[in-house]
Each structure stands twice: as C-alpha cells, then as structure tokens.
Symmetry: D2
Subunit: 190 residues, 4 copies
C-alpha cells in the first residue's frame, strides 16, 4: 500500500534537506520524482526553489490555492510525489493528494509545520494530520534543550510577536522553534 | 519533559485496553492516575465507564464541553492523566491539557479517533494532532488486510451511510474500520 | 509488503494484552491468526498460555529451540502470526520467521524483551532488532517516572541480583522494569 | 531524560546528511556538538570526514576499537554527541555511551547500519538496538519500490557477493540497499 506521509516539525528542523535526500534516493535508483513547493515561499529570492540551510537547493513546481493535485499534474512514470511547505495546502488539496496516492499507488510525502506563531493549526496541516497514512516528526531542540514543537514569531528587534496574520513568510530572523514551556511563558498576558 | 500524547486509531483498534494497561502500569508502581472519558459515550449502558472488547472495564470521570481541565479537576498527587474518547474534547480543552502538562509536569495521554465517517476531522482530534508532544498510531487492519485508518458508518442493515451528524455513538454494529482504498470506493457517487 | 514486526518493552509493559488485542482485531474481521509462546514460560501454572495482568488469557502453541517456523507449522489460511516471549527465539528461528513473512506474504508480530537483568541482549531479540521490518516500543515508566527500558532481577527478599543465568522465568516478584539511570546505580560495584 | 538514540538504515538512505543537519540545528542555537566517525571509513579519501552524497561534508573526530567514550573524550560544554558509522562501535563502546548519556545528561545520537551483506548483525549495532533509549529508522526504497532494510555487496562487475569479511569499506558501487524479498532471492543457493 502506497502512503500519504506527513513529516512535520517546527521551523528550521531540516524538512527541506530531508525532502532533497529522499529525491536523491529515488533518483539513485533511476526513478523520477515530482517536486512541489508553495508559490508563496520566496525566501530563496524567487519562488519554485527548495533550499536547505545546509546549502543544497533545487527547483520545484509551485502550488497555490488553485492548484489541483491530480494524475495530470503529477505526470506519468513518477515514483514519488514530494511536497515542501505543505502547511500551505488547502484541506481540499490534501484530500486530492490522499485519493491520488490510493488511486495511482504512488506515495506522496508532505513536509510542513503543524502550528502557527499563535499555536493554532494551519488548516492544511490539520487535514494532513487527519488523513495521512503515516506521520513522522523531524526533531529539533529549543534553546533550553527540550524538544521544540512550536514556533514563535519575532519582530525586527527580536521581540516576540503575538498578533497578526497566520501567514508571513520569513526565515530564521522572523521565527524561532521553541518547546511548549517556552512558548506558553507569559501566555496569560495576551 | 512531561508530554501530551495523542494515541489515535480507527474504530476498534484497542484504544481502551491500551489506556487500561497504562493505568495498571502506573498503579503497579503505587502511582495514582486520573481517568476521564466522554459523558456522551454510553455504549456500556451507562456513562463513565471505559470498557474494552476484551472484557476489561473500569469507572472514569466524565467530561463534556463545559469541563475545564485544570489542576483542581485533576487533583493532587496524580502521575498521569488518561483521557479516552478524546475526539470529543473541544480545541480549547486540548489547549488546557497541553498547558496543564507543561505547567504541572504531569503527562497526559489522550486516546481517540482522527476522522469521522465522512473522512472529516473531529475538531478536538485536529487540535490534539497539532499540539501533542508525541503522536502514536494504534494499528488495526481493514478486512482487505491493508492498514485501517478511516471509519465507515453503517445502518442497521449493514449498508454504508454517507450523510448525517458527525457524532452518533455506536459500536461495532454501526462503524467499520477501513483502509483508504476501501473508504474512497464510490466516493464520487456522493 | 507484509512485515516482520518486533514490539519490545521492559517487563510488565503490556506485551501480552497487546498481542491478544491484535488477535481479537483479526478475528473480528473473520480472519485466522496463529499464536505462539515459549514452552519455557509456565508462569500461568502451565505452558502454552498467553496471559495478561489484566485478567485476559488464551491458549497458544508452544515453541522451543527445536521448533522450525515454516509454512507447515503455521498452517493454511492464516492472516497473522503472533509470537509472545520472543526473546526466547533463537537467531535461526528469527531468520526463519523473516523469510516466511516475505515468502508467504503473511505478517508476523513478535513481542519480547530486549535485554536481560545484566543489560545484555537476548540473542533472539538482537536478531529481531536486526531483521525486523518494523520495530515499536511499548512504553512503561520506572518508579522514578522516567521511561523504563531495562530489567532488574530481584531475589525473594526484593534485593537486586547481579549475577546468574540469563533465563530464569519469573513474574513481577522477580523482575522490575527500570530506567537506565536506576539500572546503572552502583554499576561499578559489580 | 537525555537519550541514547540509534538511527539506523540501509546503505545510502541519508544518515550522514541527517547527522549534519542535527549538528547545524544545535549550532544555530549557539550550542556545541561533538562529532565522531569511524577511523576505518576513508571513502572521502581520508579519515575523519562525514560526507553526504548531497555534497555537504565536515570534519569529525575518529574512533577505533581502542577509543574510550567518556566525559574527557567528549569534552566540556557539549550539548549533543553525534556518531556516524556507528556499526563499527564495539558493544563495550555502546555501553560506555549509554552510561555517559545518563551520567552526564547529554544526548548521544548514533547513525549506522543494522546488518551486513549476509544479513548478519554488526555487533555494535546489535548492542545499540538493545540499549538505545530511542530507535528510529531512516527510510529508503529498494529498486522494486518496497522499503529497503538490507544491504547487498557487489563485486566490480556488479554481481552479488555472498561470502567474505563483514567489514569492507565501500560506497554505492560496492553495496546496494534492498528489500527482504530481493535480498532472500536465491538464498538457498548459498
């Protein structure tokens, strides 16, 4: 049985390099993969690039809310579908991917965040967590050495931001992966 | 670091017996546990009972949407909080449990379904999947021998039901755990 | 792909009840399972019984070092092979089971301890950990609330025993599941 | 509780890049890590280099059978110990690492193979699997698209080698990660 996978983590745990390694594994067996990332993510200076902090990067197809994940989009002879920034999928797109996996018998592996800077779910991630045939966490540690599972948003001065839009694309200067104990500090103050 | 756990499965995989075993493990170390289950679940003929198909059962406190999970509810000297039928928690209650775990340093283990008979998330489960410090699947197999991850609702004649309320308490006669391939059969017909 | 599973834990974590639940799951789908346990385990007062501390028990075929796990032993029309006390398998028997799973396309799930009272591997468990297509831990906690992964042997007075034969069948009065920190206390004194 | 981790996989699944990403995660929190790899591994043209197929590499301390893993070796102020090619640890060294983790309260993460080209355990890996506080698999697929869990040795002509020394350092030209079904083909012929 092919599976829809969701590999989640907090910011900066190595989702992109994990995805690029999986692509490499398939290709070393002379297989084709289909790579997707969110159009909205332009942290590499342009859209359509999956880039790791370790310095490895690669082009990918982009998706936005209007993309339909079906057999035509994925193309023929693909052995694995890989989706980065999967927290930006809509719940409907997750359903499309889930059906596609089980109709075509091709695995899809989605990488993304679970929760936003307020600790609230991304709708696409909640649907991935609900449907995925396998869920795996990529770990990283908080500055306090506990496991980081949540994301703090920071302003330009490095202070925590507690209100705002769910989506605001940014890198290590704008977000910090933290453990729940650090995340809930001064929570009542909100 | 104490953790909020979510152990999920499709119907009838053994969530309740798993919970009762964990309670037994703590008690064999002379520790106290706090047991909760949903008031709405009266499959044992009464509310406030956690019962396994293997014939083991035990009384538990009940929760409904008005319950507040805080230190007072849990009581002193508790080493583990165990919640059955956790798909009936509200997202707010999940947040309460998450904060309680990290404030008190006491683990909480929630057992529940991920998705309803239409393949849609239970709101409490989506929040558990978003916040939980550890997620584990309890496996069972579909009649076709693939892994069952979804739940089909059946009517009294054993036919599939595709529309209705999200919550309708029932046992093995009303629900069947199935794999995604079996679940999506004739899906377009809906 | 059918898999050889190894589900391991320290003493008393609930391996037997987990096995009995899996058997129940298959049978509720009208499937047959083949149950095995070690001839040497007579804690139920007789051999050939898989019994949980929760009060559920059931008869099983027994194996000893001369048993050959092949298609003839398992019998026809079996959907799952379940082996309790799998630390008493020989490495050769683990190889037989691994090949059987992939020849017949029938899953086998083995439940057992990893290490003995000295922290040394059981040979069968080491081979299961080496070959198994999937490895899962069943958790329990030490009296100090950390995760228990090791086993201490106790004498009749409840004192720790540090030398002796690897195999000495006994129950909760003879063994205690402990975390590594408790296990290594006074280790140098040995 | 700090943990001894064993992250295992078949050849070429991305163990080294995973290790390098973990190092990067700690360092982005301004923490120090201690990196080790096996002296025997000279695939980068020299010993003491951890190198990924994705093109990332980095120097590391080397270990051989005489290395003693203790607090002095690791050095002060280290937040994580990372060991590549951990199948070359001796069982005694694994015990040293396990005790070190629980004495110092510093996590150690070991990356390695489970079994050799004959499907037999590496002694260090068997001990890691026996002691590790957490075990995780890094997945890759066989050319037949099943999960690869075993390793085939190839000669210069690309033919399978079935006899020889357990240790023979080589890269993608000398080993192929395969699933059990492919591994056991013509097994009787041995």
């Amino acid at each position: 049985m092919s599976k829809l996978w969701f590999r989640y983590s907090a910011m900066g745990a190595g989702k992109s390099i994990h995805l690029l390694q999986v692509a490499n594994n398939y290709e070393s067996n002379s297989k084709r993969v289909a790579l997707f990332t969110a159009l909205i993510d332009n942290r590499s200076g342009e859209a359509g690039v999956i880039e790791s902090r370790l310095g490895v990067k690669r082009r990918a197809e982009t998706f936005d809310v209007d993309t339909v994940f079906d057999a035509r989009l994925v193309g023929p002879s693909v052995s694995c579908i890989l989706v980065d920034e999967a927290q930006f999928l809509t719940p409907d797109q997750v359903r499309q991917l889930h059906r596609l996996v089980h109709d075509l018998g091709v695995p899809a592996i989605c990488y993304g965040l679970r929760s936003d800077f307020r600790g609230e779910p991304f709708p696409g991630s909640a649907m991935l967590l609900t449907c995925a045939d396998a869920i795996e966490e990529l770990r990283r540690t908080c500055a306090c050495d506990r496991k980081a599972t949540m994301n703090m948003r920071l302003d330009a001065a490095g202070n925590r931001v507690r209100e705002g839009e769910q989506v605001q694309v940014g890198g290590d200067e704008s977000y910090r992966a933290v453990c729940p104990s650090c995340f809930y500090l001064e929570w009542e103050a909100e």
